[in-house]
């Protein structure tokens, strides 16, 4: 099987779904690029090249470049989704949600409920998130807890190329609005990805490591760190389960609870700001529903409650690291031996 990058996997998912279903369109700032400019067409293919090559194959009618005008085109994507298309709109950086959030959470996310179950809004908003790019406070946030908070939205955090392709195809075929968050630091990661289209169902956590001592729940890029930590601790005789929820909405509470029932210890790793993030949410879930199984206090590994810093030295301190995750696991292992 061919190895593909996270970027290629996403591009392939888009191209295959556009070939399969003529109602699938993509739109966003510079998704092709160079429109109306004197130089090359398809100049960018998205700011980091994820949509490159789609416009030459599918034409400007299905690969729509937009003005820098998120509230209008994200809203247009919502309206188009409610009226017969399957738009995949790219919000370049999730940090820009501030200028189009109404269209996502008050419009697309609520149509179905407000209209008594009669609306179907198969919208996908693809957006880039996460720190580690030296992109500073307005281009580095996670923010997925905010989308997760909104009933009516589904929220997807692919942690690897295989996951990205299957989850994006699922998102496009899904009849509900989906926020699909791509970690910008993962774009060049590679792994084996089938050439054929495939779907990964929402709401089922991926068990990436199976162990008996500690349950590590990690999201997005943090899954990679958690796997590294689990592999490293294996040689020290600490056996970790790693669960990647894949989707924060719906959340696979059952898999998390069942795993904690087995291990009795929980570490949650979340790159999102620490207050009201997925780590607090999952910790509350376990404290409420699996308290009796816990042998140790729950540990949350998250960044500090600050904006994402610019200076590389500070940003590196900010992001949850494998070292911090490893330390948290060792700490919970001191209990209930």
């Amino acid at each position: 099987m061919a190895k593909k990058s996270y970027r290629q996997a996403i591009n392939e998912a888009l191209a295959q779904e556009m070939r399969r279903d003529p109602t699938v369109i993509v739109m966003g700032e510079d998704n092709a690029g160079g429109l109306g400019a004197p130089g090359e067409d398809d100049a960018w293919g998205g700011v980091l090249g994820v949509t490159k090559g789609l416009m030459p194959e599918f034409g400007r009618e299905r690969v729509l470049d937009t003005p820098i005008s998120e509230s209008s085109f994200i809203g247009a994507a919502a309206g188009a989704a409610a009226t017969g298309l399957r738009p995949v709109a790219e919000l370049m950086f999730v940090d820009f949600m501030g200028v189009c959030f109404d269209q996502i959470f008050n419009q697309a996310g609520k149509f179905r409920y407000m209209f008594g179950g009669k609306a179907v809004t198969p919208l996908v908003v693809r957006t880039m998130y996460g720190a580690g790019f030296r992109a500073a406070s307005q281009h580095s946030q996670c923010l997925y807890p905010i989308f997760t908070h909104v009933p009516g939205l589904k929220v997807v955090l692919p942690s690897s190329p295989y996951e990205a392709k299957g989850l994006l195809i699922q998102a496009i075929r899904d009849d509900d609005p989906v926020i699909f968050l791509e970690h910008k630091v993962l774009y060049d990661d590679e792994e084996e990805v089938p050439d054929e289209p495939y779907t990964i169902p929402f709401g089922e956590a991926n068990l990436t490591r199976e162990g008996k001592d500690v349950t590590i729940v990690a999201l997005g890029r943090m899954v990679k760190f958690a796997n590294q930590v689990a592999d490293g601790l294996e040689t020290d005789g600490i056996s970790c389960t790693v669960l990647d929820p894949r989707t924060t909405s719906p959340l696979d509470a059952d898999s998390i609870l069942e795993s904690v029932e087995e291990t009795g210890r929980l570490v949650v790793v979340d790159e999102a700001s620490p207050r009201c993030n997925m780590a607090t949410d999952i910790s509350a879930l376990v404290a409420e529903q699996a308290f009796g199984a816990l042998k140790a206090p729950i540990r949350m590994v998250a960044p500090p409650h600050t904006p994402v810093p610019f200076a590389p030295e500070l940003e590196d301190l900010y992001i949850p690291s494998p070292e911090k995750i490893g330390a948290a696991v060792r700490e919970v292992m001191e209990h209930g031996a």
Binding site: E196, Y198, T199, E204
Partner: protein, 373 residues
């Protein structure tokens, strides 16, 4: 290789395996062993299996401790004929390790055997060919929902002495997902076209479960193409089939459901690892797989019964036939073996379930070897 000193090395079970962990030694150092004795248990990310001694003698060195992980091909132990000098054994180990380091580097640079693709009946069919390239080839055909990787404990061992081809049936593995009518005639016909495409006139046919019925159908339709038949827990010899397995396999989309379904395949459900479940799920998630499985299930196992019985036609075959069955098979009843014509060799493996070629790989490999010469 020194006379009378035999290396025991980490086997390669399946394309994805590059290392394995020794979980437990079953023979003490210095104890006598016979060829085929279970020496140790090895765990890969996909599966745990016992590993048998390749030779008779004394287990004179155990070189990897329990819980240690080493790469494929690494030296695990040495079996020496009685009377081999200790110094000679030490020299053997030292030489092997030095050569292995060089070989491993070379192996990393040269491509391993990779699956290939061929058109058969207008459909791309994925297959893996390994072995000597000489003599009448062995063709291994997996069962419903399986793929060529089901032969991971068999193909490498058989390939030491034979030209061995394992394929993915249509609708399975990496082959085309279009399965036409999806019935036995289609599957047997595709096998014939596959042999044509590879230029194989005649083969020792080995089929498991649905694959058993398919190779039997092929041998009946094209008697000249079969040199022998080995049927492992085959379909096609009676009406019963575990309907909840078939519908469960077709329906399961999630890890927990799939794990429970796969557990039915084995006498020891502990063999169903995280990776095994994940591999099956990855296959099932591909576009077209659900439809392919549904089509085959509907055509071959309508209403939870087998549509076709070929048992009464076994007498038409002029080539050697053997049947292997796990006594603890929960998918196709072993009772089907008892109803076969007298004189047809049936090997009932007491400890195995539906996957005898995995759970009792050594014995199944010996039986196939005995049949194919």
């Amino acid at each position: 290789m020194s006379d009378g000193i035999q290396a025991v090395t980490m086997p390669k079970w399946g394309l994805a395996m590059d290392e394995g962990m020794v979980t437990v030694w079953l023979v003490e150092e210095g104890a006598p062993v016979a060829a085929g004795d279970e020496l140790l248990e090895i765990e890969t990310t996909k599966i745990t299996n016992v590993f048998e001694s390749p030779a008779a003698g004394t287990l004179s060195r155990r070189l990897v401790g329990e819980g240690e992980t080493v790469p494929v091909g690494a030296l695990l132990a040495v079996v020496a004929e009685d009377g081999a000098a200790e110094a000679e054994i030490d020299a053997f180990v030292e030489r092997f390790r030095a050569e292995f380091a060089v070989a491993a580097e070379a192996a990393a640079e040269s491509a391993a055997v990779e699956p290939e693709c061929v058109e058969a009946g207008g459909r791309p069919i994925n297959y893996l060919r390994a072995g000597t390239g000489e003599g009448i080839p062995l063709v291994l055909v997996h069962g419903f929902g399986g793929d060529l990787d089901n032969w991971l404990f068999n193909q490498p061992a058989l390939a030491e002495h034979h030209d061995v081809v394992a394929l993915d049936l249509p609708g399975h593995g990496r082959s085309a997902k279009d399965v036409g009518a999806g019935d036995l005639a289609f599957l047997s016909g595709t096998l014939a076209e596959f042999l044509d495409a590879l230029g194989i006139d005649r083969a020792h046919l080995v089929g498991h479960s649905l694959g058993g019925a398919a190779v039997l159908g092929l041998a009946l339709d094209h008697p000249k193409r079969a040199a022998s038949l080995t049927l492992i827990s085959p379909a096609g010899l009676g009406p019963e089939i575990n309907r909840s397995y078939i519908s469960g396999f077709v329906g399961a989309a999630r890890r927990k459901e799939m794990k429970a379904v796969l557990a039915m395949l084995f006498a020891d459900p502990g063999l169903v690892s995280r990776d095994m479940v994940e591999d099956v799920l990855k296959y099932k998630r591909l576009d077209g797989v659900s439809a392919a499985l549904e089509t085959i299930a509907r055509a071959v196992f309508p209403d939870g019964r087998q549509a076709v019985s070929l048992a009464e036609r076994l007498g038409e075959l002029a080539v050697p036939v053997q049947v292997i069955w796990g006594r603890r098979d929960k998918i196709v009843p072993p009772a089907h073996a008892e109803a076969l014509p007298p004189g047809l060799p049936v090997h009932m493996i007491e400890t195995a379930g539906h996957m005898a070629h995995m759970e009792a790989a050594g014995e199944v490999n010996r039986l196939i070897g005995a049949m194919t010469g």
